[in-house]
Symmetry: C2
Subunit: 225 residues, 2 copies
Amino acid sequence: MDVYDPPMTVQTATEKRPAAEQSPPKPYHHGDLHRQILCAARDLLEENNIASLSLRAVAKKVGVSHTAPYRHFKDKESLLVGIAGEGFKEMTAQLNEAVELHPDNPRAQLQEAGHRYVKLVAENPQCVQLMFGGILPCDDTYPELHESGDIAFTALKTIIEDGQNAGMFKKGDVELMALSAWSSIHGLSLLLISGSINETASAPVETHALTTAITVTLLEGLNAG
Amino acid sequence: MDVYDPPMTVQTATEKRPAAEQSPPKPYHHGDLHRQILCAARDLLEENNIASLSLRAVAKKVGVSHTAPYRHFKDKESLLVGIAGEGFKEMTAQLNEAVELHPDNPRAQLQEAGHRYVKLVAENPQCVQLMFGGILPCDDTYPELHESGDIAFTALKTIIEDGQNAGMFKKGDVELMALSAWSSIHGLSLLLISGSINETASAPVETHALTTAITVTLLEGLNAG
DNA sequence: ACATCCATGTTGCCAGTGTCAACATGGATG
DNA sequence: CATCCATGTTGACACTGGCAACATGGATGT
């Protein structure tokens, strides 16, 4: 269900570690609480939504006191930034995989990236709302947030450039063409998770076919001229 | 301080109103608190963000007790639904204006609608996040929410159909083509207000030119074949 | 070996929030 | 004039984010 499961499964507080030789059932100092808090917060976030995510619930899920997270995150916003940051990293990873999967075929790269983007958003809708939903400040308060985004966008521009050099895409401003591609897929993804499409569309639409259709329209737009 | 002051000044509860000519069935002690609460909430929402909008602050701004809003809205979510509903209505209105502005020119209609969509989102970012941001349930809990959206989407499909009949757009599934158009513009708008574009783009981009470019790419995609 | 430090985790508290119950008010209706 | 009921108020509750003060115990230097 989750795209990136934590490498170590989350332990409930009451559960004792199977380590036999340790007499104290619960060590005072946690393993890496930082990671566990991030994972638990991610889980709770996707289970409900951003509005109903509370630091105290996260702490309870991990099995620590309600202020323990403050030793690892300055405040609630910092924790949210951490979650969003992982989302951006995963986004970048997916894009790179799409490129590697279809070497020397920018057209297929773009299509693959589109499908992976939609899938990633569909599987982590609340995280995406966090990344793009205007809860986090969009100024330079958290510069690390946009770094992965920069990398991803650069990779996208590389696809466009390669496509131009291969004669698959028309010549033109790479920045604008990359933004066109991003906008289409991003818009589709967000419309899907917001429920707008299935509600407004007269007939239910299959996501994969829809993504393909929109990607094709986009490619024809990039092709024309 | 307030952006749009209510047309009738706020009355304290104890203050009596000079019962002059009241021909319409205008109600009770207060003006229409329902409308004033909606306006105040909208203002406070755009001043900060969704997370920091509190019912109590709205009540205080209007000058009533902290539970007065509950006589007009079942709970906080219902108030948010009311705000989002107004947003959808405004969206529909903008689309219709775009159509009327360029009769018999679907291409210009689509371009105009795109610019108006981007502008509307830019001027009411928090409201848009409310409409599409996954805070409100996307099931049928509030069917009235999606009605205006349906109307708007139908209008969009009409543009596409007219364009096809006029030979401006290629033949094809109207639903899919309308979704392509919506996705592009929606994605662009949300990327803009989320700060992703100015952060990731190597050079600052002028919004209007960017919108035009993306609309043109879209139109070429709809044109191809 | 031992004393010390300090990162980590805890308890207790505060203001602020959404929401419910009980009460107050006054215009509309008989 | 009596009554009703929509509207508005007060007070309370559980919950939240966050601060301060305290507790613990692994790492460190001698």
